[in-house]
């Protein structure tokens, strides 16, 4: 799915639902044995989307894959540069990581630094068989050699623009992804 980069709502509620359904379909057909996979969401947007993906997979396959949440604050490379105190949230990986295919879920893929931190954090839990990356929005502008395996929407952006992912789990009235105009 590719859209122009006009500011405004770039994904609405039903489009986000479709993306999650498509991810679930692709994952179920790629990994018929769901015992081999686990979904891990990056705090906080990725954790909500990851939970939705787990439900979508279990609706199709009548089996719920393992699910974990990952906070990457302690693995960031910019803690020393942040002006504000980063908040450390909960990490909960309640399953054996070694030997699994891990579906790592995040809301927006941008520089790739968050994913780099998440990869480091994940391999501290064990040696996964593979790690696949699923993102709702890929806005480009990568600074690290990282690419997603499952993409909801790919858009071209400039660094001064902002992509906001608003989800009901965070108290929003409806789901949407908004591209904010740059300077």
């Amino acid at each position: 799915m590719r859209k122009g980069t006009e500011p405004g709502t770039i994904l609405n509620e039903s489009e986000i639902r479709d993306v999650i359904q498509r991810f679930a379909q692709e994952i179920v057909s790629t990994y018929p044995d769901l015992d081999q996979i686990a979904v891990v969401g990056i705090q906080t947007g990725g954790a909500h989307l990851g939970r939705r993906l787990v439900h979508a997979i279990s609706d199709r396959a009548r089996q719920e894959p393992d699910f974990g949440i990952l906070d990457i604050t302690l693995y960031r490379d910019d803690i020393a540069l942040e002006i504000n105190q980063p908040i450390v949230r909960q990490t909960d990986i309640p399953f054996e990581v070694s030997g699994r295919n891990i579906i790592l879920v995040d809301d927006v893929l941008y520089t790739g630094r968050t994913v780099r931190a998440a990869l480091d954090a994940l391999i501290d839990f064990g040696r996964p068989r593979a790690i696949r990356l699923a993102v709702l929005v890929d806005r480009g502008l990568r600074e690290f050699p990282i690419r997603p395996d499952f993409v909801g929407l790919e858009i071209a952006t400039t660094p001064d623009q902002k992509v906001h992912v608003r989800l009901k789990e965070q108290g929003e009235s409806s789901d949407q992804v908004i591209l904010e105009k740059g300077d």
């Binding site: 302690l74 020393a80 942040e82 105190q85 980063p86 908040i87 450390v88 909960q90 990490t91 064990g126």
Partner: protein, 312 residues
């Protein structure tokens, strides 16, 4: 919201938002100690000096484990066998530590205010790991975290602090913290073991342990500090025990969900009966585990801060 100061010197200096930030952060850190690989790279390249001028086993080990789990380089420095015994002043010692680029100094000292003195003259962050009978902030924070994990909140809880309150920096820090968090604190001790000007602390006082127990959500027992008592304040340990030891019989007077705490080391049979210390209401070992999480949280909150200031 970050911490306002570069140091953690006492609970008196922290506001409620800062206490909440520390406890919330510590809650997130306790998971790391459950992992197979109990280590995160967060403080890689930071140097933490554990400067202990007074004997300590659990606090020093707890700090050391917290530092290692955050990948900091930790150096232990005890006074015996150091140039301290050759007559160097406290300030000179710390200036030397700073010249070696220590980022955080964890300090225990027998004199109240020693860590304040150093903190005001050092660029490094200072964490007070106990200064005389003044404060022991990390102990109070781990106590509040442990209570909160059981009750969800500290507000309106009744906490009885029992024993040698006048000599106890643990009690002082806990009183400051619990009062700030709007808990009801009742100090229980013979008059000789209560501090002067106790009325200014915002707490209640009782000499009668058994009348307080039925009201207590939490009973925090303190160690009788034989090494800090210059003069005789109680007739004998046996007599003290008769009135203030937490025994299984006394515990029967307490609410069903009462929590029993002790900062350690235990004087079994003096202030706490072994059957209570090891019994179902005791959360003493949870306090020890939470100590690591609280200290990791403080090192993280101060460690990130010091490098942010250097780069700005």
């Amino acid at each position: 919201m970050p911490l306002r100061n570069k140091d953690i010197l006492g609970i008196a200096e922290l506001n409620v938002d800062e206490i909440d930030l520390i406890l919330d952060t510590a809650d997130s850190f306790s998971e790391i100690s459950q992992r197979v690989i109990k280590k995160v790279p967060t403080l890689r390249g930071k140097t933490v000096v554990n400067f202990f001028h007074e004997p300590s086993t659990r606090t020093r080990i707890s700090f050391e484990i917290a530092e290692k789990r955050l990948s900091a380089d930790s150096i232990n420095f005890a006074t015996s066998g150091s140039s301290f015994s050759k007559g160097e002043t406290l300030l000179d010692t710390v200036r030397n530590l700073e010249a070696m680029n220590a980022d955080i100094i964890v300090m225990r000292h027998g004199i109240p205010g020693a860590s304040h003195f150093i903190a005001s003259r050092a660029h490094a962050s200072v964490i007070n790991a106990g200064d005389g009978a003044h404060e022991h902030p990390t102990q109070a924070l781990l106590d509040m975290l442990t209570i909160r994990q059981h009750t969800g909140s500290l507000e309106n809880l009744t906490v009885a602090i029992v024993g040698d309150i006048d000599h106890s920096r643990v009690a002082r820090s806990n009183i400051f913290g619990l009062v700030k968090k709007k808990a009801r604190v009742i100090l229980v001790a013979p008059p000789t073991l209560l501090p002067h000007r106790v009325d200014d602390l915002g707490v209640e006082v009782s000499y009668d342990f058994e009348s307080v127990i039925p009201k207590a959500d939490v009973i925090m027992m303190l160690r009788i500090q034989r090494e800090r008592q210059g003069k005789v304040l109680i007739p004998s340990l046996r007599e003290y025990s008769r009135y203030y030891c937490l025994t299984p019989e006394r515990l029967k007077l307490a609410p069903a969900k009462v929590l029993v705490m002790h900062p350690g080391p235990l004087n079994r049979g003096v202030e706490i009966d072994p059957a209570v210390a090891d019994g179902p209401h005791s959360i003493i070992l949870e306090q020890v585990s939470n100590g690591i999480a609280v200290r990791m949280a403080l090192l993280f909150l101060l460690g990130g801060r010091s490098s942010r200031e250097q780069s700005n």
